[in-house]
């Protein structure tokens, strides 16, 4: 199931209908709580598209509250639910704040770029990036297929894919792996 969240709408609905900037920690916490409430109403595996298109400014504090604190529980051993996230509509200045926040928490996320192509940003190793891009490139596959495309040994590929899945950047469907953001 794909769920779409327009952050500027959430901001206006939960904090103030005159605001278009995601600034300050209390604002970020209120927006994150609204997203979590929406996610709690969904069952099963979901991909949530978080849309920054109509957000003006994003500061570090708000990026930490909205994005990092939203993702952290899902990268834990016992995530609250089987949720994945795809971010879109981010400007260069949004990314400036976000990339530092992701690095600080050793987090990564999938970003849909302006041309629609997904990419991963944040703290990822070279092997993780290769495996993720290979999975995206071949439209998903088995460990062997992804390892072949990425130029990684089977054992390493398996370990890397498990790590990517734990970080909500990759989905496992039986013995197949699919990169979050792949055209479904």
């Amino acid at each position: 199931m794909i769920n779409h969240i327009d952050l500027s709408t959430v901001l206006r609905r939960t904090v103030c209908d005159l605001y278009s900037n995601l600034v300050t920690r209390p604002t970020g916490a209120a927006v994150r709580t609204a997203i979590e409430t929406q996610l709690a109403e969904l069952g099963g595996r979901t991909v949530t598209v978080i849309d920054f298109s109509n957000v003006g400014l994003l500061d570090y504090s708000c990026a930490d509250e909205v994005v990092a604190k939203l993702l952290l529980p899902y990268c834990d051993d016992c995530p609250p639910r089987d949720a994945y996230f795809l971010f879109r509509g981010m400007s260069e200045t949004h990314l400036d704040a976000l990339e530092h926040v992701l690095e600080r928490h050793r987090l990564a996320l999938v970003l849909q770029q302006e041309d629609g192509a997904p990419t991963i940003i944040g703290a990822v190793s070279e092997a993780e990036r290769r495996a993720w891009e290979a999975t995206l490139g071949i439209g998903g596959g088995s460990v062997g297929e992804i390892g072949g495309a990425a130029g990684l040994a089977t054992e390493e590929t398996e370990m890397v894919l498990e790590g990517l899945a734990r970080r909500r950047l990759m989905m496992r469907i039986e013995d197949q792996w699919v990169a979050v953001g792949s055209p479904s």
Binding site: C16, T27, H100
Partner: protein
């Protein structure tokens, strides 16, 4: 008895120390008259710091406005007298206050106490900053959003840590003496708990042998330490530092009896000053210079 505190003719972050030196020996409940009659110019730091000074006094201080008409006119346009009238007994006739929103100042002196105030100043600065930063200071258009972000994080320091309200002001001017170029300056001042006390309130904190205002400033400004255990904290000041570095700017933060600065090549300030006259809260100044060819 009233003690007269003389305001220097040119009031900025450096000369404000002369004001604090005069204030240091006086108990907080001693009546003072802040005499600005001979002041001719003040930076956003100087004006917000004067308001902050008034907040630190147990006995309501008196204030003698500048004698020079153009100085009064400028201070009025910054919104100074609107708040000075609430904090000081103004000696003589109080200058006619200009209604809010009619000024050519980039961001008039604005009180900061809560998150909504930060939204307000960020919204206001975005409207005015783009033109000034790109046309007058020749900064990249990208600098505008970063500038608003820096302003936001600097103001949030008050909301998150000071424990009481403070002030922000932003202005551009030509910094003839030190730089010979235009600058845009953000001043954020509060009379709250200051960095040392804020960090001391961190849960489970163990004090080291050397622990003073200077070390607290080093921890917070240089190492990004916060009173909160949350690893996501401390990113605001780190972001301010990065922005200042990217645009060849200067950041200085005063708290207690110390002052730390990230000093660019165009300035000869020292990185750390200790043993200054004590002053409550924290006072931050961010200076971004005009970009010239080759820089």
């Amino acid at each position: 008895m009233t003690t007269v505190i003389n305001v220097p003719p040119s009031l900025d972050d450096v000369t404000f120390e002369q004001v604090l030196d005069q204030l240091a020996p006086l108990p907080a409940d001693e009546k003072i008259l802040v005499d600005a009659r001979h002041a001719r110019w003040a930076s956003p730091f100087g004006l917000t710091a004067l308001l902050t000074l008034a907040q630190t006094r147990a006995e309501r201080p008196a204030f003698a406005p500048p004698e020079a008409e153009e100085t009064v006119s400028y201070w009025n346009r910054t919104g100074f007298f609107r708040y000075a009238a609430e904090l000081f007994d103004i000696v003589g006739s109080s200058p006619r206050q200009k209604p809010a929103g009619e000024s050519d100042v980039l961001l008039e002196i604005t009180p900061i106490a809560k998150s909504d105030d930060v939204h307000e100043v960020v919204g206001r600065i975005q409207q005015k900053a783009q033109h000034i930063l790109t046309r007058e200071l020749n900064l990249d258009a990208k600098a505008t959003m970063g500038f608003a972000m820096t302003l936001s994080e600097a103001c949030q320091n008050i909301v998150e840590h000071a424990g009481r309200g403070g002030w922000v002001a932003v202005q551009t001017y030509k910094w003839t003496k030190r730089l010979g170029r235009r600058v845009v300056v953000i001043a954020v001042c509060d009379a709250g708990v200051g960095f040392r006390q804020s960090l001391e309130s961190a849960p489970g904190r163990t004090r080291s042998d050397r622990w003073d205002d200077a070390m607290a400033l080093e921890e917070a400004v240089v190492r990004g330490v916060s009173r909160f255990r949350d690893p996501g904290r401390g990113q605001g000041l780190a972001g301010v530092r990065r922005y200042v570095g990217r645009w060849d700017g200067k950041l200085s933060v005063r708290s207690g009896n110390a002052r730390i600065a990230i000093v660019p090549s165009w300035d000869d300030d020292v990185a750390l000053r200790e043993g200054l006259a004590p002053f409550a809260g924290a006072q931050m100044q961010i200076t971004i210079p005009e970009r010239t060819a080759g820089r």
